[in-house]
Symmetry: C2
Subunit: 327 residues, 2 copies
């Protein structure tokens, strides 16, 4: 079987149109965000919406739980949809909800989203005291059941402590190296070395605020950055996590940024003059453009097996090893 195409982070305003585009683009699996600020019960409402989509569009999509579901998607020409949280809000203050969420199919959970959480610190806080008491317990429980720790929106010390406390590899599902584009959301060389040195995965983001020159970033610049990352961290630890937010109204990025925690607007990676979703680069508009990235990687000099790994093979290996109970 050929290598799969996996995008390990999307938060589109999903619809039959996007499900068809996933098939047109040959995307075998996506990891979608199920919760930003939701309580447990609110997150379950989002699962219910996905259940309705799975029931209505079985020819296009199905719920993914294991690496084998990616292989099944490849053989059946469908897209396996894996679930994750960008914030631990759905587990509330209850460690028992970690296994419940895993039983409901959740496979990734960020320990914090921009702000301090009950578990860890987010990347926009002024201070980062590291993993909390609950955070350390949660890491062990996530390790036990096979719910992958994601530190994409976490601060450095918390991220390094999560890597250190975790008995299993963790992920940064959607971010780029800070040395390429110094956004607060991009990751330091220290963090990326620690992450990949312990078997963890980095998914490269295509969200313009994470790109050098933003929406004007060139495909060549993006692929040269991946080549440099492969030299520094090893090509086997690299994948994709586009952060594609297709068809979302700007009200959604406001919700992502302030949820219910602030009455004032917080612009996050944007600004008062540029408050909404930024336009995507012209070489990656939606799920039909993955071929451009494959071609870009080829022109940058990657060998075919390396490209196969970056485009999905590495995530598939990671899924196989990390979505089940601790061996």
């Amino acid at each position: 079987m050929s290598a799969p195409l996996i995008d390990n982070l999307q938060y589109c305003n999903f619809s039959p149109k996007i499900f068809r585009q996933l098939r047109e683009g040959g995307v075998d699996a996506i990891h979608v965000t199920i919760a930003y600020h939701e309580s447990f019960r609110e997150m379950v409402l989002n699962l219910e919406q996905w259940n309705r989509w799975f029931e209505a569009h079985p020819d296009l999509i199905f719920k993914g739980l294991t690496g084998d579901d990616v292989r099944r998607a490849q053989s059946e020409n469908r897209t396996a949809v894996f679930f994750g949280f960008q914030n631990p809000s759905p587990i509330e203050d209850d460690i028992g909800l970690i296994e419940i969420c895993h039983q409901l199919g959740i496979r990734f959970m960020q320990l914090s989203y921009n702000n301090q959480s009950l578990l860890a610190t987010g990347c926009y806080e002024a201070e980062d005291p590291g993993l909390t008491r609950f955070g350390k317990q949660a890491v062990a429980e996530m390790n036990r059941v096979g719910l992958v720790i994601d530190m994409s929106h976490s601060a450095d010390r918390s991220t390094l402590e999560a890597i250190d406390h975790s008995a299993r590899p963790i992920a940064i599902t959607h971010a780029n190296p800070h040395w390429w584009h110094p956004a607060l959301r991009n990751k330091s060389d220290t963090v990326l070395k620690a992450l990949t040195g312990r078997g963890g995965m980095l998914g490269f983001s295509l969200y313009p605020h994470h790109l050098k020159d933003g929406s004007n970033c060139t495909l060549d610049s993006f692929c040269q950055m991946i080549a440099e990352a492969a030299d520094r961290y090893g090509v086997d630890h690299l994948g994709l996590g586009s952060d594609l937010c297709q068809d979302q109204p700007d009200a959604v990025v406001e919700w992502m940024r302030v949820g219910r925690w602030s009455k004032a607007m917080d612009y996050g990676e944007g600004s008062a003059s540029n408050p909404g979703f930024p336009p995507m680069p012209d070489w990656f508009r939606d799920n039909r453009d993955w071929g451009n990235i494959r071609q870009g990687l080829s022109q940058t000099g990657f060998a075919e097996p390396e490209i196969d790994g970056i485009m999905g093979g590495n995530w598939l290996r990671f899924y196989d090893e990390n979505f089940g109970p601790q061996p």
Copy 2:
């Protein structure tokens, strides 16, 4: 493989002691009640307690989801524990929670418990207007996902309408025939004929209020009743559903009866002079006494294959056919 031993309804105050007694008694599978009056979130707390038991006692018990889990329990000398609700309160007013609950492992749900619910009428109401609008939608959705309709505590018209509306066989997991002991909770000949005529299952209760002569009921009387039921309804539609409530304090039967719906006490099948859990008959004290019932059935004249069916084989066939998506 020999026929399994399945008890299709228990609500014990579970503990390692009872898990060991299940093994001593050779019980391959039990269906346990996860909710009486709980909201969705409260029901999830009960699931979390079971997850902790499964983690702590993997040598004795595991979570059962399919008929094959009963066979696995037999081959591994463990007990498969299946989950059910006695009331639809955990799905609240949300049909999407039916599939969510099935994904969490729920395999039986009563449409009402003694009182009127959002779906159907309970057996202690004065009037029974039959399945509600939501009730008819819920029956179809339960059919679709493979969540079995249980009408043990429902009123007759609602029960007959559920049998009629359901495209798949339903169950009365724990009750006895009204012609043997005319308790309000026991079932009319009309209901039992309709139930079994459509492939449904009846689980015989050992709860003393459902037994002729209560706690003094004899094993012979119980087995003669089963013989009569086999003549009337066919032996393939009969199984066990003991309603064993071992080690529960009397406060629990009060909770079962009034939940949060009444400030005044309602004695249900008991009375002001006999308000608590009644003592079990001396031939069925706990999970170590199933051999007595097997022996009683043999002395009543049942053939070995018939006894195998009543003791668990019939429930296993029903599990195989009804716990998955609608074919």
